[in-house]
């Protein structure tokens, strides 16, 4: 299986403190990979470093490879042009711009040989709510609508791989599964996704592969079915008595 995004011994330091320590990770084409871990394990730092993006000024070491080409030296907007699209945690859209304007900000690249740029119709089919809110400003949207808009913007840019940082934050539990299920549909259509998620139960129900991050390093890695049985995952995140995983479609307890 060919890899669409990979990093080799990626290390991120903030003012001398190591937040991500020699992480090696691989997103195979057409798969959904999850990164799980506790608060402060370095999940967001990792996914931001993959996109070459940060609110602070971290030092980043290690190689990031997108579709076989190294992108480590490129700034965030160049990586975006090449199809590495990050939807950051929290505020991922411009509140002062309308839904339409937010979407128009993204320019669909001219060369999309092995990529698919989502057209308006496809996006509205995926998120019908957005069509109704087309002329509303970003600030007028609900948390879920904002998240949908942020993802839509990324989809318009013809992603090779979509990086989602905690899309569930601020959403009602029912919406979380709904959203992740739709992301799963996109993967089944051929998109590759790297998902960082604190809601481990929900994440495990949709992803193919899982990386468990603790204090900046990968402590376990494997297919989702195996990781559901993994002792560390079960103890820390799922709870002993509750190993049953909710099916994607069923209502969340």
């Amino acid at each position: 299986m060919s890899s669409v995004l990979a990093c080799d011994r990626l290390t991120v330091r903030y003012g001398g403190k190591t937040a991500v320590d020699r992480v090696t990770l691989d997103v195979p084409a057409g798969r959904m990979v999850g990164v799980i871990g506790a608060n402060g394990a370095g999940k967001s730092t990792l996914i931001n470093a993959l996109a070459g993006w940060s609110r602070g000024r971290p030092e980043v070491e290690g190689e990031v490879v997108l579709g076989g080409e190294p992108v480590s030296g490129l700034s965030a907007y160049r990586r975006a042009h090449r199809g590495l699209l990050l939807v950051p945690e929290g505020k991922g859209i411009f509140g002062g711009l309308t839904v339409e304007e937010n979407m128009a900000l993204v320019r669909t690249p001219a060369d999309t040989r092995d990529r698919h740029a989502f057209g308006e119709d496809e996006i509205f089919a995926l998120f019908p709510r957005l069509r109704e809110r087309l002329h509303h400003k970003g600030t007028a949207l609900s948390g879920g609508e904002r998240q949908m808009l942020a993802i839509s913007c990324a989809l318009r840019a013809a992603p090779r791989v979509l990086l989602l940082d905690e899309p569930s934050v601020g959403l009602a539990p029912r919406l979380v599964l709904e959203l992740l299920k739709r992301m799963r549909q996109l993967v089944d259509l051929g998109l590759s996704i790297l998902l960082v998620e604190q809601n481990v139960r929900a994440a495990l129900s949709v992803v193919d592969d899982v990386y468990l991050l603790e204090r900046g390093t990968v402590v376990a890695h494997g297919p989702a079915e195996e990781m559901r049985e993994d002792k560390r995952v079960v103890e820390a995140y799922l709870g002993r008595s509750d190993i049953e995983i909710a099916e994607p479609g069923s209502p969340h307890p």
Binding site: S75, A76, Y77, A80, P88, G96, L105, R107, C153
Partner: protein, 284 residues
């Protein structure tokens, strides 16, 4: 009749003020940047036009694009050297750096163009229209027309185009804009070049009305600041209205009260306004 005449004067003064402030309105409102060298760029715009008219003997209307281009290039250079500060949104340092640039320009222009007052000659300045006891020049008409056209164009670009949306996006969150594939430093460069170019254009249009000196520029910064605050920081339409308001005030206060203290009086008003509303007369 004097009222009508002062109304016309106010209209012309105001459109001149608004033109001078236009670039800054976009710079400050849309990009959250400041440029204290704004007044010196105005000075330079007038002097470059004067210089090429004197030295190369080119006509006034050719000197305008030359001056705009030269000052735009200078603006690009300034912005390129400040990119790091801009991306860090280090406003304190940016203010001081642009002040330093302004001071360099004052010194450089004095060496290059000499310390004597000069006149930028526009053929339209000599063409006066007299009708029914009031008069104005064709240059005045040009200033008014340019102000209206430029403000309309900028409003349309900012609110109706992808470039405008990009500028507003950058103003809101330059980091996030990168994730949308936007090259933020390039957009900043564009905005800064636009600011420099429009103030140079304003200078070539407005300066023929008065003698020009290399030491000028401070008054223009204050005027611009007052317009931007009165207009509601960043509001293009507001700036145009504020420009006209300030022009009217200058014309009437100067005629009926005291020409020496017009700026002081206008500033007093802005000061009171700011102590009540620290962010200016913004929409909300």
């Amino acid at each position: 009749m004097i009222l009508v005449q002062q109304f016309i004067n106010g209209l012309v003064l105001g459109s001149g003020y608004a033109l001078i402030a236009l670039g800054w309105t976009v710079l400050l409102g849309a990009a959250r940047l400041v440029n204290f060298a704004h007044g010196q760029l105005y000075m330079l715009g007038a002097f470059v036009a004067w210089f090429v008219m004197e030295q190369a003997g080119v006509p006034y209307f050719v000197s305008i694009p030359v001056s705009v281009l030269a000052v735009a290039l200078l603006g690009a250079f300034m912005q390129a050297s400040m990119t790091r500060l801009v991306m860090e949104q280090n406003l304190t340092s940016l203010m001081i750096v642009t002040l330093g640039f302004g001071y360099m320009l004052t010194g450089g222009a004095a060496i290059l163009f000499g310390g004597a007052p000069q006149t930028l000659d526009s053929p339209l300045q000599g063409m006066a229209v007299r009708t029914g006891g009031v008069w104005f020049t064709l240059q005045d008409v040009l200033i008014l027309a340019c102000a209206l056209v430029l403000f309309a164009a900028v409003w349309l670009v900012l609110n109706r185009t992808r470039i405008g949306a990009m500028v507003r996006a950058i103003a809101e969150d330059p980091k996030l804009a990168q994730l949308f594939g936007i090259n933020a430093p390039l957009v900043y460069l564009g905005i800064f070049v636009f600011e420099a170019a429009t103030v140079a254009l304003a200078a070539t249009l407005v300066a023929p009305r008065t003698p020009i000196l290399t030491s000028m520029g401070f008054e223009e910064v204050i005027l611009t600041f007052m317009i931007v605050v009165l207009g509601g920081i960043g509001s293009v339409g507001g700036s145009l209205a504020a420009g006209f308001g300030l022009g009217m005030f200058t014309a009437f206060f100067g005629t009926f009260v005291s020409p020496a203290y017009t700026t002081a009086a206008a500033f007093g008003f802005v000061l009171v306004l700011l102590s009540v509303r620290p962010k200016g007369l913004a929409r909300r």
